[in-house]
Amino acid sequence: MDSTYGKSRDRISNLPDAVLCHIISFLPTKFAVGTSVLSKRWRYLWASIPNLDFDDDLLLDRDKPIGDSERSICFKNFVDKVLLHGSISCIRKFRLKCSDHELDSAVNSWICTALERNVQDLDLYFDTEYPIELPPKFFFCKTLVVLKLSFSIFLDIPSSIWFPSLKVLHLRSVEFSTDDSAQKLLSSCPVLEELVIERWRWDEQWVFNVSAPTLKSLAIYFSVDGLACIAEREDELVDELDNELLVAPQVGPEDESEDEAEDEPEDQKYKLVVDAPNLEYLSITDFVSEDYLMSNLSSLVKAYVNVGPTIRGIDDQILYRGRIYELLRGISNVKHLSLSGETLHVNKDECEIEEWTLPLQVPTCVELHLNEVEIKKFDGLDYELGAIEFLLKNARVLKKMSIDCRDWRDGQEFCVCEKLSGFTRASRSCEFSVFCHCGGIRMFS
């Protein structure tokens, strides 16, 4: 044994209690409680941490043969015990991930306990067979600042609902009882700043209304057929999602001739409406909405747009293009715009027209405000070049344009670069970079 053995022994014991608790606070509750058996000093350290993170998926020994119902009881007893432990009187963060529907009444009482203990950050993730309903007192929680609800949760919004402290809200493909539920929920959050909405299934929310005067940041991920783009985050879940929910509601009669269309009842269209005067950051990944109405986005600084036609198909190319244009027009004050190649590619399979029809009027955003454009997933096709030419010709205060060709094979970007350098530029001080496969960056001044 070297001479420092004695010194380095128990170095962790040299840390003050507060620091040990800080370390434990980074562990899910199961492992945090597990530290109780390390020594007398550690026995109750975990109990003073106001953060609780329960995940019924965590098993120390995966090979241990333990039946489902036994596991269920074990998990329930554990959570009950931890919550009963008197010293955590004020829960700051409460995360619960559960896939066992047998526990739904226990889950309800656990959520009530968290609410009673003035929880500030609530994260509920259920992937049970049937959605879980939230207890009534949930809808009046005064202390909630951050709320994250994921998947098998059924939100039956009561007529009176109020979240006076809620600043951050993430709704990941939850189920709403009525089609104005989402907006009712938003209207009950007087200080909401950040909103993330994910939608992974077809539902009856034809009009998704985001009207929030205090909102600063909005991220939308609507993608049912495009699951690949977000599947990387939730691999297992994608497999488990009920396949029925992935079948799109039928589009109206196949006969598309314009005269007859007037006589048919209007097809339901998915529409996204956003009205947020304080919004600074907007990210839209949307393969569901067929119509957009963006208004009052006067504070917008940065926007990322990745939209494309839905699996339901496009009824009319011109109309569809017009809607994309409306979307871009609605965000006309934006300074930094990031577009995916998908957005520029508005003509899918069936259509013969290959060009990006230039809008007759240059959108104000492009002319006066656009500072920076970033094009990801660039394929070098004609309509994309057309769009870039349009932007370069009209964006007077453009400072930076970067195009990502990293997926291309080496050297392919040459001819594209030549074309790009030939375009007229309205802004003299624009820095133009093309990111190449080899890792290099070609710059044009």
């Binding site: 170095r11 606070s25 492992f31 409680v33 530290t35 109780s36 554990f78």
Partner: protein
């Protein structure tokens, strides 16, 4: 009689300014450009906004118009005008320093830097902290050094070594920041709890984090994350010393990083494995240990 030629300057935001050559050559940079024949068209100044350029031109005009004071005499009126000229907000003042430096207008550089040096003497601790952040933001350390504007402070480790650190970097530590605010940082700050080996690492961490441009909202700086991951690849002894130092100096991001690292080492391990990793003393009797395990059964499944 030489006809006065007009020079056109173009600011970074595209505005054009016309001025007489005799005024324009107050700037050494522009003077050289004219001499090299590069001034036939508008001279672009991509580093200077129209707001600042307007002020700079105002300064140059005034100084050209005022008859030169005789040797050893001071033009009081001009001095008073200069004093008024620098009564601007701090951000504008620093932008003027940058512009004066870039354009090579020495008298303006002297004036603005001296103003900052005088300001710092009068400032409260809070304001000092803000000034140092502005200096760091605009990379003005070299200029400040010439004008004896202190941008560094001295830290002394437990083993007597001295470290000279930019104030903006030192302020990553809340403990040191409070000392600056309380004006206790004018001499060397002793840190009896931190050895030189650890202090060097902590300073390295703070420097990296101050110099890396803040990730924009909703973006994660992957490069910085990778750097952090490398930073904590150290032996256990050093890791725990870093935790203690981060705790004592109140550097939240470093404390979180190091504690998270230890938590990751604990996560998923059985108690026996944890004890082995950290050479934990084991003071439970077998009966006591059994009791604890029973109490929290699911934690041990």
């Amino acid at each position: 009689m030489a006809s006065s030629k007009t020079i056109t300057l173009r600011s970074s935001d595209g505005e054009a300014f016309d001025l007489e050559e005799v005024v324009a050559v107050e700037s050494q940079t522009i003077k050289h450009m004219i001499e090299d024949g590069c001034a036939d068209n508008a001279i672009p100044l991509p580093n200077v906004t129209s707001k600042i350029l307007a002020k700079v031109i105002e300064y140059c005009k005034k100084h050209v118009e005022t008859p030169k004071a005789e040797e050893h005499a001071v033009n009081d009126e001009l001095k008073a005008w200069d004093a008024d000229f620098v009564k601007v907000d701090q951000a504008t003042l620093f932008d003027l320093i940058l512009a004066a430096n870039y354009l090579g207008i020495m008298s303006l550089l002297d004036l603005t830097c001296q103003t900052v040096a005088d300001m710092i003497k009068e400032m409260s601790g809070n304001e000092i902290c803000e000034i140092h952040l502005l200096i760091k933001e605009r990379s003005l350390e070299k200029i400040c050094k010439i004008y004896n504007i202190k941008t560094k402070l001295t830290l002394q480790s437990s083993d007597g070594m001295f470290f000279y650190v930019d104030v903006a970097v030192a302020m990553e530590s809340q403990t040191i920041k409070h000392m600056i605010e309380d004006r206790c940082a004018d001499n060397a700050i002793p840190l009896p709890n931190v050895t030189s080996k650890i202090l060097a690492r902590v300073i390295e961490y703070c420097k990296k984090h101050v110099e890396t441009p803040k990730a924009e909202e909703h973006a994660v700086n992957d490069e910085l994350r990778a750097w952090d991951a490398d930073f904590v690849k150290v032996d256990q002894a050093t890791l725990f010393d870093l935790i203690l130092a981060a705790n004592y100096l109140e550097i939240k991001s470093l404390l979180d990083l190091t504690c998270q690292t230890v938590a990751d080492m604990i996560r998923g391990k059985t108690p026996e494995e944890i004890r082995k990793t950290f050479l934990r003393k084991h003071d439970f009797t077998p009966e006591e240990e059994e009791e604890v395990r029973r109490e929290n059964q699911w934690a041990f499944e």
